[in-house]
Assembly symmetry: C2
Homo-oligomer: 223 residues x 2
DNA sequence: GTCTATAGAATGATAGAC
DNA sequence: GTCTATCATTCTATAGAC
């Protein structure tokens, strides 16, 4: 049907334009011109500009979440139902980091679109992210199985900090490169994944008494 | 002077409206109506909507940066020119976290404005944040003085991860509360500061070689 | 210098013909 | 399903009053 063609032409033109120029600089008129369709077609097929953006983001987001859960499932099966905490963190941050920092990040519009979504965070995307809690709960459950002794709150803080490092690295990639004058290699994706995983594991496995008031840690050397 | 009155009326109305309803939902017309001034006064005093937002953000941002540097300076003087790495991280993330998560975060419009700025990240604010590198360099320098043996890149990654945890906690406060069903106490600001500092210190102390036994660290509770 | 009134350009959305 | 024409709203710019 011609409708499907128009619909997907809009989607692919929009994703490419948003990836190239960001959400703020692309109008519906830019998109329909690039897709060679009529202006009103956007509202006919998607209802509004925001719903078009939402559909783009949901599509890519579901793919990442699927990849995460596949890795998690594989890790749990390899460990007989209980994955190592490092493997859980790797399944959590690996797909996102590889998708947004990998060599594909220059070539694939999908990857560049997700980077934009991470950096600019427009309202329709924020709304979707807020409904992502159910997905994260599956990782919290796996973490509890992996570390049965850990306080519940520590599990959530560990999950939260792991996501913090991954997303902040994507968001502030440019700034970190500039700040470190190239010393931090943002192209070494595997190295970054392992760095984030290592810190996440240490954060969770390192401190014993963090469930109530976290211990105050002091470096013994260098004072 | 009447000019100062108009100017500051715009500033304070804008900050309050942005804090309450976010950047996306507030128009210049909302602002001038609330400030009881003419629409053109905004462009006369600030040049554009974006420059108004930028001025609001710069004002609050400078205050936080001053506080950070004061704490850093105090810590370095207390240590005879070389601050403990924990004190450096505390000076880095403490002011921001206290400002955005503290009890003032409900009452102070300034705090709620900064939370919005953290979450929504509109173009004028992104531009300013990208020029924040010089400020961060001072912390990187203090970290080098504190840990002279550390590899340069590890210093920057440690700085980066500390900011990641602090900012992500502010950005995703609501989601973490929902995810943990209240188990993570986002009102315990001091506890959060110490948690972020503890993880940051561990990340830097053990992050260089992931397999090596980490932590030449000792827990010391109480203050 | 300071501010007001008003016009201009661009955008997202929609009604109705085909 | 598609398209033309049009609307309401938004930010911006400027001429001129005080």
């Amino acid at each position: 049907m011609a409708s499907d063609h128009t619909r997907s032409a809009i989607l692919s033109a929009a994703e490419r334009l948003y990836a190239d120029r960001g959400f703020g600089d692309v109008t519906l008129r830019d998109i329909v011109a690039s897709a060679n369709v009529n202006l009103a077609a956007v509202n006919y097929h998607f209802g509004s500009k925001d719903e078009l953006i939402a559909e783009l983001f949901v599509t890519r987001s579901l793919a990442t979440n699927r990849e995460r859960l596949n890795e998690l499932k594989a890790a749990e099966e390899a460990g007989g139902g209980r994955a190592g905490i490092d493997a859980i963190f790797r399944a959590l941050v690996g797909p996102t980091l590889r998708g947004c920092l990998g060599p594909s990040s220059e070539g694939s519009t999908a990857a560049r679109f997700m980077i934009r979504a991470s950096i600019e965070s427009v309202p329709p995307i924020r709304r979707i992210k807020n409904r992502e809690v159910d997905h994260l709960r599956k990782f919290a459950a796996a973490m509890r199985r992996s570390l049965p002794g850990r306080a519940e709150a520590d599990i959530y803080w560990g999950l939260h900090f792991a996501l913090a490092m991954a997303h902040h690295t994507i968001r502030e990639r440019e700034r970190l490169t500039k700040l470190s004058e190239g010393l931090c290699d943002l192209d070494d994706v595997q190295g970054i994944v392992e760095r984030v995983v290592a810190v996440s594991v240490m954060a969770l496995a390192g401190g014993e008494t963090k469930s109530k008031a976290p211990a105050r840690l002091v470096a013994r050397d260098g004072r």
